[in-house]
């Protein structure tokens, strides 16, 4: 049965999207490019950098990931996920042409408009580059709005770095400074990047905090150790942003599990400034 009364939609019903392209990124990590099956859905859909959705395989369940593509790239969305649980395993075995469900976009966005004229420092770890990739491409597609752009990206090993092709592209762009790093022991003989944990590399290569916005995405432990480094480098907490990834089910503030203190990651976040986080308990 078609949903006819769009003024009164059932908030649990997902869009149907076709997997147009699957890109293997790293062991267990894939990127899906998804297109709306319904042309009206495609025309009406908009989102902003930082937002996320619930991706599903019908009959298996839903899983939460950010939208990893930039809103400046129209006509599709992309998501990148690691195969970990039941739903991500079912997604991982899906093929190009298959249909998946998507609910979203949910959550707030990175205040990119407020960053005009500033330097941007992107810091990402592991599988947390995808939420940042959306912002990076959004800013690169509006390159003239920003001053220096620095990207620091680290993973456990060379193999675990995602978006290898795009890393190459950013490395070759004269208007981007890219620093990649791998954890000690994760390097290969021909590795030319840094070796060391992300916070350590940030301290070593970060640009001046003067007129710079830092955007940090990573596992909780990386975030925890990177914030103090940025503070030491004199970044004001209000100029540091992150996106939190607590476990979610609904995405719209009802299922009750993603809150950090009084704020729901799904509705009040996922984007938070460090200034905001300082006032919240460490429930993430």
């Amino acid at each position: 049965m078609e949903i006819t009364d769009m003024s009164n939609p059932n908030i649990y019903i997902p869009y149907q999207m076709r997997i147009e392209k699957i890109t293997p990124e790293a062991p267990g990590v894939k990127t899906f490019r998804l297109k709306f099956i319904d042309e009206q859905d495609a025309a009406a859909f908009t989102f902003k950098a930082g937002q996320f959705g619930e991706y599903s395989i019908f009959g298996v369940g839903e899983s939460t990931f950010c939208i990893a593509s930039s809103p400046t790239r129209k006509g599709y969305i992309e998501c990148t996920f690691r195969q970990v649980g039941k739903v991500t395993s079912a997604l991982a075995s899906a093929e190009e042409g298959d249909i998946v469900g998507f609910r979203g976009p949910y959550g707030n966005t990175f205040p990119i408009d407020e960053w005009k004229g500033k330097n941007l420092l992107f810091i990402a770890g592991g599988i947390a580059l995808p939420p940042m990739r959306c912002v990076i491409w959004n800013c690169l597609d509006l390159r003239e709005n920003f001053k220096d752009i620095t990207i620091i990206y680290g993973a456990r090993s060379v193999d675990d770095l995602v978006y290898k092709q795009e890393l190459e592209e950013w490395k070759n762009r004269p208007d981007v400074k890219l620093v990649t790093t791998v954890d000690p022991g994760g390097e290969t003989p021909d590795w030319k990047g840094e070796i060391g944990f992300v916070p350590y590399v940030v301290e070593k290569v970060a640009p001046s905090a003067e007129n710079t916005i830092a955007i940090v995405c990573g596992p909780p432990v990386m975030i925890k150790f990177t914030f103090p480094v940025l503070e030491k480098l004199e970044f004001a907490p209000g100029n540091i942003y992150t996106t939190l990834e607590n476990r979610m089910k609904c995405g719209f503030g009802k299922c009750g599990r993603c809150n950090v203190g009084e704020l729901y990651v799904c509705k009040d976040g996922p984007v938070f400034s460090y200034e905001q986080l300082k006032l919240l308990p460490e429930e993430y």
Partner: protein, 338 residues
Amino acid sequence: MVVMRTENYSIKKPSIEKLFDNLAERGKTIYAPKNNGERVLFQKIKNFGEMAGDYLVTANSAKEVVFPRYEKVFSYKKTEDGILIDDPADIPFPEVVLWGSRPCDAAAFIPLTNIFEQDYTDNLYSNRRKNLLVLSFSCDTCDEFCFCTSVNGGPGNTAGSDILFTKLSTGDFLAEIITEKGKKVVEENPSLFEASPTEEKEGNLAKVETRFNQDEIQAKLHELFEDPLWAEKSRACLGCGSCVFVCPVCSCFDIQDEAHGSHGTRLRCWDSCGFSLFTLHASGHNPRPDQGARWRQRILHKFRYMPDKSKVAGCVGCGRCSRSCPAGINILDTVTAL
């Protein structure tokens, strides 16, 4: 919900039974307290005689009437032409009567509606709630677990009910008509409702001791996130979720799929903040790693986050959680120790 100025009527005991029969004859689904041999539960009944004669509160709460234990949010069918989705909200929801709810049961619909209608409206809930007629009966007894008066409620509180009946010393009932829906019941059954009684209801209500002040607790909870009390008060907790399942306000849920070959359903199922898997990340990291953190979340959600956001606490003082806890944890022990 349209709330009007309360109109009072008197209704005789036999007329109450007649009212039930009239509603049943009109084909309405009626949920009422029924003794299943061990416990009194809200269950579907057809005849007045099936109802439990004597009960303080039911073991389960009335939330299941509007927020079922598990509910199909949609079903799907995989075909050669794609996936066909069937929206249950397209089918009209039945008119349901909740009969014999206590004032605490009725009051719980207010915070429950706040959750399901804040920012995004959950139509499955809303449609059920809109089609629900709440006919409550005041309490003339209470037990040591009751604390409605501490959370802005009371044994004769009208909030959330369409009609509140209170048994008077004469054996007749005072019928307070609280909403337009309640008024319609009077209009449809004019011969059953008589002129307002002269007796006040207050003398006929249970005396429920006030155990704490909700506003003070709400203020205190802004300071107590890190406190040894959470671990201490939850030490006996088994994480079984029984408190959550019987709670009339707890509405945290999970979303799960059930597949049968090429078709299946997506379900919204009750969940509990007390379960260890509730907040567990795929990576193995858990932001609420122990039972103390989970118990803190339950108390903070009810007594601070919800009233901060929508002025109404997430607890109505029915005491079900404490009565049902297999480990003997009483929520009052935590709240009064803050």
